[in-house]
């Protein structure tokens, strides 16, 4: 499991600066229970299509005790400030149809239960794979007659955080054997494609070196069951596509755009690598 990076020039250059460490995780045996109520599966048997692991781990497992603790109680979890903002947006009438999200969907805590767990998802009517963000904008433009939100803008990421809340604790269960298969294959190819001056694919870090140190950080398996996440680094909500963009930028490559077909495909593929973990969003990461 720790072989594939050795021997390439890109690797040597990259890790001269990144200092690989020993492979200890901060809280490898800890369990996460939110609000003394919602049990979160942070480790699970790897799905059959993931050859690299026996066990899949939520990114939560790799964080320090202090960061982990922030997620145990919704009051301590700073993401909920943004969820509150999204609740206001949910109830705000916008667009030519004179509707709010609530006009059709009522209470998000009931109507949205289970939604986060199955996205990205094939949309038969549109004939495409849709992320939660695409679906939200679909509602805004088609149902509300409102302007679409910026794909990874604040309004959008706060809203996807809100929509995730009632799915917490439910297993991620994203399909990939139906009409979405083509996108999934494309996402898988991207996952294993080296990019940038450092010539790193997602797999080079998140398969081959999860648990190892990357500078002063523990590398995770790159699971997205916790997205969107509140990051201590920027003190706001961050979407999966924004994280993908950051990762690809860190390989010193030109990155794809949030909302692009490439990132939709990658999100679909990466999401299925986490099938069996709990939806954990909105989570807290460093």
């Amino acid at each position: 499991m720790k072989t594939s990076l050795k021997g390439t020039l890109g690797m040597a250059t990259a890790f001269a600066g990144l200092a690989l460490g020993t492979g200890l995780m901060a809280g490898e045996d800890d369990n996460l229970i939110v609000n003394e109520e919602i049990e979160i599966t942070v480790r699970a048997p790897a799905p059959e299509h993931v050859d690299a692991f026996d066990t899949i781990y939520s990114g939560w497992v790799f964080r320090s005790d202090e960061t982990q603790a922030l997620q145990a109680d919704d009051f301590d979890n700073p993401a909920f400030v943004f969820v509150d903002t999204a609740i206001d947006a949910w109830n705000t009438v916008e667009g030519t149809a004179g509707k709010s999200c609530a006009s059709c969907h009522g209470d998000a805590m009931e109507s949205m239960a289970g939604v986060r767990a199955v996205y990205p998802k094939w949309n038969e009517l549109a004939g495409e794979v849709r992320t939660l963000e695409m679906q939200v904008n679909g509602c805004r433009t088609e149902q509300m007659g409102a302007e679409p939100w910026k794909y990874d803008g604040t309004d959008m990421v706060n809203m996807t955080a809100l929509i995730s809340v009632p799915s917490r604790g439910m297993p991620v269960d994203v399909s990939f054997d139906g009409p979405e298969r083509e996108m999934w294959e494309k996402g898988k190819e991207l996952y294993y494609t080296r990019t940038g001056q450092l010539e790193l694919a997602c797999a080079n870090c998140h398969e081959d070196h999860y648990g190892d140190m990357i500078r002063a950080d523990h590398l995770s398996q790159g699971q997205i069951n916790g997205f969107p996440v509140y990051r201590l680094k920027n003190a706001k909500m961050n979407s999966a596509h924004a994280r993908f963009k950051g990762c690809i930028r860190d390989t010193r490559a030109h990155t794809f755009k949030p909302g692009s077909d490439e990132f939709v495909a990658l999100e679909l593929y990466v999401a299925t690598r986490g099938n069996g973990l709990s939806v954990e969003a909105p989570s807290v990461r460093n």
């Binding site: 964080r63 960061t67 500078r215 990051r231 003190a235 930028r249």
Partner: protein
């Protein structure tokens, strides 16, 4: 910009030196603490300060202080550009003289808690917090 090999080595060396020298007590921190105590000496003990040994991100470092019988507690970050963090005054309905908050630390440094006791004396506690630079833009 033309960066010669020698420049690069010099830069690397100074960066290395910086990482080895955490911010300890600074003149600014001493002044800030003196402003709170009025220059009085603060004895060690009588106040407990809880901080992580290593903070994953300096933007949000959880800190707790507890000084039974104190009328006020001030927290200082000795290595920050401005060392003052918070000064809490406890009223008659405070059930304990304790406070938890989240603070910013500019780098590895000492966090100092100073409590003013009911008799006007001061006590203090100090912890070093290592602030790491994250991996991927963290």
């Amino acid at each position: 910009m033309d960066l010669t090999r020698r420049d690069a080595i010099a830069l690397g060396a100074s960066a290395f030196a910086l990482t080895l020298l955490p911010f300890r007590a600074s003149a600014a921190a001493d002044d800030a603490i003196a402003a709170f105590t009025g220059g009085a000496d603060a004895a060690e003990g009588g106040v407990s300060l809880t901080t992580p040994e290593i903070a994953e991100n300096g933007n949000t470092v959880p800190v707790s202080v507890d000084a039974p019988g104190a009328v006020a507690i001030a927290i200082f970050a000795a290595g920050n550009p401005t060392p003052d963090v918070v000064t809490a005054k406890f009223g008659p309905l405070a059930a304990s003289q304790a406070l938890s908050t989240r603070i910013r630390l500019a780098g590895t440094q000492d966090v100092v808690a100073v409590a003013q006791m009911a008799d006007g004396s001061f006590v203090k506690a100090s912890n070093t917090v290592k602030v790491t630079i994250g991996g991927c833009g963290g």
